[in-house]
Amino acid sequence: MAILLKQATALVIDDFQSMRSMLVGFLKAMEVASIDSAAHAKEALGLLATKKYDIVICDYSLGQGQNGQQILEEAKHKNYIGYSTIWVMVTAEKTMDMFMGAAETRPDDYLLKPITEAMLEARLNKLIEKKRSLEPVEKAVKSKDYQRAIALCDELLKKHTTGTQEIQRIKSDLLITTGDFSAAKAYFESILAVRSMPWAKTGLGKVHFLAKDFARAKEIFQEVLEENKMYLEAADWLSKTLDAMGDLEQAQNVLSKAMELSPNAVARQKNLADAAYKNGDLDLAQASYEKAIKIGQYSVYKSSSTYAGLAKVLTAKDDPEEALKVLDRTREEFKGDPEAALQTAVIEGMAYQKMGDPERAGEALAAAEELMRSQPAGVSAATTMDMANALFKLGKKDEACSLLENVVKNNHENAGIIKMVAAAFEDAGMGEEGGELIRKSSQEVVNINNQGVILANEGKFEEGIKLMRQALQNLPNNDLMLTNLCGMMIGLMSKKGKDDSLIFEARELLERVQKINPSNKKYSAYMSILNKLAPPA
């Protein structure tokens, strides 16, 4: 981060030549060290990829192609810009998309036109000051020393400067990240006692959701929307909550309404399509996937699973020929993406099966199996389930069962996924055998874990670690096993002293746990032990 405006490198993005030269002129007058400009998204992203900018001033609407928000999202996603980059969006009017999105894809500031030089300079200086004050917090977060980051936030909050809300947000996110739900809840409540703010109330609802108190979470999200119907993050969470409560129909309705208010949100449109598919509303699912593909064309949220979803719907609607066309397009658009290759192969199998061509269906699924073997940790439960369903239809029971067995072992404590597995067995007319297999597979995981716990109790940490590491090779996504392994590493270190490589490995394990199951209770406890063992620099 440049300490002064005069040392900064800046990029101006605007499609209007006159606006561009005006903004460049302002920066020149401020004696900014280096100034580049771009007329459209492609040019801008090309520059962002090759040069590090301290300041980006970007017009929101850029005619055809990506808009300013989408450039920001892509630049963040591809790590072209870091936390220290100041991104100022210039806009003729306030738009939803800019600050209703996720916090990490929000611009640092936005300026309503017309812009004067004095105003721009004042804002930029304020932003530089703000970035500098948040630098230590960011450092602590990067080295995963969350306790220290929280303490630093408290210090900043005591000083009370501008940007209080941003610091409050960071602090509350950190409390959730460390799994300290009761502290997070108390913190949101203390903010809400002063004033009802939609972000804080949504945060409170999130905490209830993560603590699995769905009924209370639902109430809170509904309240947020009653007070401020444009706060659509609450709608996304409400839908998620309803889904978790098994009320799929309402979950879909909530997303439908949110889409009417903000028709260009790609991720939400896809969630709506998924919900409609789950509800068997195939027409809406098809329309929603199609729209998600269309509006996501220039977005980082463009995803192969949206295309795969559309192909799946078309197959279900007895139009496998059209599904195959969509799959061809998917392969074209996502060349070199292993996840996309797998998804397309699985659905291709389903489509050929529907067309009464078991031979080609078999070939497609064989290719899918090959792809699955080459990326064991990256395959989602949903794709695996699709695959198993397709294999059942082809009469390949053994393969299907072994896939489902794997899903169970990786997720033996996840009731929702286990229910889906049971349903897949039921559909294949194997309800009873399936139930037995689920019980046996879960038991197997429990046994390995118990064995590990016994070894740990006897102080045989090295043996326990070996056992767990081995088991995790086949079950990379089992959060219970991941936390137990981490616990044994901590045990070993408390006996034999700290070991930097073990600490590093343990932190990585915990990060995977956090990803798989954000509400894992042991996560926070282990993380704080690790932080005490090795206070990150």
Binding site: M22, A92, E93, T116, M119, T162
Partner: protein, 229 residues
């Protein structure tokens, strides 16, 4: 899309949006031109240029207000109530209008504590203040004062001038009520209507924002008062 699908107000809104873009570029050029002319042309020409910019800004302010009202009316305005440094907001509003004020020889001062923070939608409140400044520009002799302080748990923002003050007839009317458009007096009432809508959009703990006008203040002229809970 069928033609019937297009709501006429949507059509107006998108046209305004387009007009605003042109206007912004125009204002940018005018400011640039003024910078270049400052030392080259005589005072009366500069004054005319200043007035041109004032009128363009006024037009822009009106367009922003109409667009915001359109969105508020459709309940699609993204309200963003957040804690703001009041001093910072006031300084920026004054800075934005500095050049125009300069040409009429008007000095604008800001009176607000550095550590005064309050919760509001920055853009909407900025719009209200710019509107108030524009009014004061018309009525003042040569001084405008922008004051803000927290009083009885509410933030009070005042724009005071040293002109003759508001006429009695205007003071007697309730500015917060929508008195409608009067083509004969030339006043559309847009500024007041917008400002009172914005005041009303700010709510907290059962209290609501309010707008009022009075005569007096530090200079004994017109005072425009926005109170936010």
């Amino acid at each position: 899309m069928n033609q019937e699908d297009i709501d006429f107000s949507d059509f107006i809104a998108s046209s305004i949006h387009d007009m605003k873009n042109s206007l912004n570029i125009q204002i940018g050029f005018l400011e640039e031109l003024m910078g270049e002319c400052r030392n080259k042309v005589d005072g009366s020409m500069l004054g005319q240029l200043g007035h041109t910019i004032y009128e363009a800004n006024r037009m822009n302010v009106n367009l922003i207000q109409i667009l915001s009202l359109y969105k508020l009316g459709k309940s699609i305005y993204p309200m963003d109530i957040a804690e703001q440094s009041v001093k910072e907001v006031l300084d920026e509003v004054v800075l934005q209008n500095q050049s125009i004020m300069g040409f009429k020889g008007i000095t604008v001062s800001v009176a607000c504590d550095e550590d005064c923070y309050w919760y509001f939608d920055r853009d909407l409140v900025t719009g209200v203040l710019v509107n108030a400044l524009n009014n004061a520009y018309n009525y003042t002799t040569d001084k405008i004062r922008v004051v803000a302080q927290v009083r009885d748990g509410m933030l009070e923002m005042r724009v005071e001038d040293n002109g003759r003050g508001y006429p009695k007839s205007l003071l007697q009317e309730n500015v917060a009520s929508n008195k409608g458009v009067s083509f004969s007096s030339g006043s559309t009432g847009l500024g007041f209507y917008f400002s009172s809508r914005v005041a009303g959009m700010h709510k907290n703990g059962g209290k609501q924002g309010a707008l009022s006008i009075e005569n007096g203040g530090a200079y004994g002229g017109g005072c425009f008062v926005l109170t936010l809970p």
